[in-house]
Symmetry: C2
Subunit: 248 residues, 2 copies
């Protein structure tokens, strides 16, 4: 069981969806975040729809389990919390939430929720929305708010996944080298630079040494990387010496 | 100026993108969250690409300002922070962040960031990623992680928008009615119920009255809604009385 299944997962309810491709893309977006309860209210072209499968990109189980209902009320029959996505608050006297806020409420309630998504072109009517308790609006740029159906499903599903605690695998990183290894590198580098004549302005000598130490201190290099640097410095010194000998 | 422009906005860098449609959908996703700095590294079919415009759904300014570069290094030339999206951490010894964490870091740094997105089919190579400081991985369900290019851009752009403080317009809602109006409704309803003979089991009388008061207390009804209820109760009482008279 994935982490997203600790709470009852919300039903994703597509109201009068038009394009099979969008249903498929919505299914794909759902599966990415552990959702599989897809409900269709009066899909325009019937169901199943041959255009949905390719767009689902492997989320076939979501399409196979999708259920069709004749009305919004039937589709929401078992949902204790009801939401509807809405790009603009059409003068509806209902509380509005961001996807993140809504996901947090669904998650903390422990109750089955249903989220309505309107048809591609027209959105939902005031009659569709009258019996819904809360609107979900995606915060977009004031100058350009244009999310399509599958993108809106993606953002709601994504926020559910985040609220349900989905995490990422983090590479196991070697830690920065212990200080004595860094001090050894610093000493080797300043020694090599001294021999090479880099500290040629005596008045700035101490300051230059601090600059070198500070640069190495913030490098974050691991023990292996410190060893690599020590090898590179030895190699550069050897090349300089050989060049020096050749020029003599 | 939108709120997203308070910090320098990150550059969205598509590396060797294949389909013009995906470039257009990425541009649309960016515009939704106030982003417009689109950079293309060696797009497969050249640039401009006639398939990009329709998919941008109005985000034409992003496409018009897009810049093409011959290498990742050139595309990132002015970026102080460098990120690359990666569905799996391919054994790369680099820190990984969620989109939300990365957006927070970009936002709080106040520095120009660049985010790489790999080509549709293959993703990026280890050579592509060697010079990048941090990976971004979307937390997805363990059983199904399949985001396409434009969806990944959408989630990164969305989280940037959230970190940049994009907000939603919230409908101005009338507050719940003051307590005296609710008490008036409660008194009217219990009076009407008394006259109708609803409190017929004397032992449960007080408990029934508390039930009615508690239901009205959690209704959240506004002053207008309380008035509507008082009218409906009067109407129901009138109907009962008329029916009673008719039956006599």
């Amino acid at each position: 069981m994935s982490e997203a299944e600790v709470s009852p997962q919300p039903a994703i309810v597509l109201v009068r969806p038009q394009l099979g491709m969008n249903i498929g893309m919505a299914a794909r977006a759902m599966a990415n975040f552990g959702l599989s309860d897809l409900r269709l209210v009066s899909p325009r072209d019937g169901w199943p729809n041959p255009d949905a499968g390719p767009a689902a990109a492997g989320a076939d189980h979501v399409l196979a389990e999708a259920r069709v209902f004749g009305s919004i009320a039937e589709a929401l029959h078992d949902c204790h919390l009801t939401f509807a996505t809405s790009m603009v608050a059409k003068g509806l006297p209902k509380p509005a939430r961001t996807p993140r806020e809504a996901a947090g409420e669904m998650r903390s309630s422990g109750l089955k929720a249903g989220v309505l998504f309107g048809p591609e072109a027209a959105g939902m009517s005031k009659d569709d929305l009258a019996g819904i308790s809360t609107l979900i609006t995606v915060p977009t740029d004031a100058a350009f708010g244009s999310l399509n159906l599958a993108q809106t499903v993606l953002l709601v599903a994504y926020e559910w996944g985040q609220a349900a605690g989905l995490t990422i695998g983090r590479p196991e990183l070697d830690p920065p080298a212990p200080h004595d290894e860094l001090a050894g590198l610093t000493a080797q580098l300043t020694g090599a630079l001294e021999e090479a004549g880099w500290f040629h302005v005596r008045a700035r000598d101490a300051s230059s040494r601090r600059t070198v130490a500070a640069m190495l201190a913030k490098s974050g290099w691991t023990s292996q990387e410190v060893r690599t640097w020590r090898g590179m410095i030895r190699e550069l010194e050897g090349a300089r010496r050989r060049r020096g000998q050749g020029m003599r």
